[in-house]
């Protein structure tokens, strides 16, 4: 680490962290989309549009998934990470 950097983080580390964060967000989005599709959309594909019920379900599913994501995030950061 650079001795003259008060934050203790060098640029390469910052880029690495930014990349990891972005990858995490993409992964979160993909899993969220897949999960809520599986939970909310009728697989018989009677039409190409999402109906009102599916739309509401999707909105609520995303909201709940987000809440769960927050809960787990808090639990993991509060309790610390147990050694595996």
């Amino acid at each position: 680490m650079a001795a003259n950097n008060p934050a203790g983080i060098d640029k390469e580390q910052a880029f690495g962290m930014a990349a990891t964060e972005m990858e995490y967000r993409v992964e979160l989005f993909n899993r969220l989309a897949q999960t809520c599709f599986n939970k909310c959309v009728d697989k018989r594909y009677k039409e190409a549009e999402l109906n009102m019920g599916e739309n509401s379900c999707i909105d609520r599913c995303v909201s709940k998934y987000w809440q769960v994501n927050g809960m787990i995030g808090q639990m993991l950061s509060a309790g610390g990470h147990p050694p595996m």
């Binding site: 640029k11 880029f15 930014a18 990349a19 972005m22 990858e23 967000r25 993409v26 989005f29 993909n30 969220l32 989309a33 897949q34 809520c36 599709f37 909310c40 959309v41 697989k43 594909y45 009677k46 039409e47 190409a48 549009e49 999402l50 599916e54 739309n55 999707i58 909105d59 995303v62 909201s63 987000w66």
Partner: protein, 93 residues
């Protein structure tokens, strides 16, 4: 994910912004290819069960078309909600 993320990086030197921009481009490309693969797998799994012929039957084609369109619309909707929740979370900090 889009370049709106870069708005928060105004203070950075040009080369750093360019590097972040390149990273986002790379992630977007990779994500698009993954979406392509997973959509094909999903619609195939949901729509195609019959292997008495080697070409798709009409109802299988229709099913696949609807499946793909539906998933893409769904994905857009999720994207909107995701962005809303992301910006809420940001303002709460």
């Amino acid at each position: 994910m889009d370049k709106n993320m870069l708005v928060g990086l105004d203070g950075l030197p040009e080369e750093d912004k360019a590097r972040m921009s390149a990273m986002i481009d790379h992630l977007q490309l990779r994500d698009s290819l993954r979406m392509y693969n997973s959509l094909v797998e999903r619609c195939f799994t949901d729509c195609v069960d019959n292997f008495t012929r080697k070409t798709l039957q009409k109802q299988e084609e229709t099913c696949v078309a609807r499946c793909a369109e539906k998933y893409l619309k769904h994905s857009m909707r999720v994207g909107l909600r995701f962005a809303e929740l992301n910006s809420q979370a940001a303002t709460q900090d």
